[in-house]
């Protein structure tokens, strides 16, 4: 399936990428994170176990066991710091 994946704040800067289309063969948000980690480098570093990041699917924050629908808009970003 195909996903539109967005990155924000520190992750956007470190990845050097604001958004991309990802061809995804897995099922859950955790599978997507694992697929991105496998790219190595900054991807492995920022998405390593124990690093704080959040995942939103179609603009709702989800837990890593969430199932990703085809053509979902998935966003990965650091914990929020507004207000």
């Amino acid at each position: 399936m195909n996903l539109r994946v967005l990155y924000f704040a520190r992750l956007r800067e470190h990845f050097g990428l604001a958004e991309e289309n990802v061809d995804f063969a897995g099922a859950t948000a955790a599978d997507l994170v694992a697929q991105l980690q496998a790219r190595g480098g900054v991807w492995a570093e920022e998405l390593a176990a124990g690093r704080a990041f959040r995942v939103a699917v179609n603009q709702d924050i989800v837990t890593l066991d969430a199932i990703l629908p085809d053509h979902a808009e998935v966003a990965i970003f650091p914990p929020v710091t507004g207000g």
């Binding site: 924000f8 603009q59 709702d60 970003f77 650091p78 914990p79 929020v80 207000g83």
Partner: protein
């Protein structure tokens, strides 16, 4: 209800007047304004830039305002959050809540700010004499948001 994400400054007085105009059932309006400070974590802060996730930001703010309205009897709510580059002393966020009595207004205003701090997709980047840095989320913000689910 009014929820805005904007670069422009806002006027607290004008927003409070807009809420009360023509409404004689309102007995209390509680408001909160967050400002950009000139220091954080022991460093001077010369400016900050607020990034957000267009689309999700408005959706997340609307969701937490709805939660507040289901918890307390509220007559009106205004939330305005600024984005872009801000200087020390600039306002960042406004929450104003109207109700018949002060208890609901105070509680809902604090609830909305606590929820916004942990769930609305905004990120601050500070300019300091040592360079630029992204602000880390605070554990105290998670604790402040969590106390509303504990009670």
């Amino acid at each position: 209800m009014k929820i805005l994400v904007q670069a422009e400054a806002f006027d607290l007085g004008a927003e409070v007047n807009a809420i009360s105009q023509g409404h004689t059932d309102i007995g209390a309006i509680a408001s909160f304004v967050g400002l950009a400070r000139d220091s954080n974590e022991g460093s001077g802060v010369q400016a900050m830039t607020l990034e957000h996730y267009p689309g999700m930001t408005e959706k997340a703010l609307a969701a937490l305002v709805d939660e507040a309205r289901s918890r307390w009897a509220l007559l009106d709510v205004t939330v305005i959050h600024r984005v872009g580059r801000l200087l020390p002393g600039d306002s960042i966020v406004l929450v104003a809540v109207a109700s018949s009595h002060r208890g609901e207004a105070f509680a809902a205003c604090e609830y909305i700010m606590d929820a916004l701090k942990t769930r609305a997709p905004f990120w601050k980047k500070e300019e300091t004499p040592e360079g630029e840095r992204w602000v880390d989320a605070r554990v105290s913000d998670d604790a402040a948001a969590a106390r509303w689910t504990d009670s």
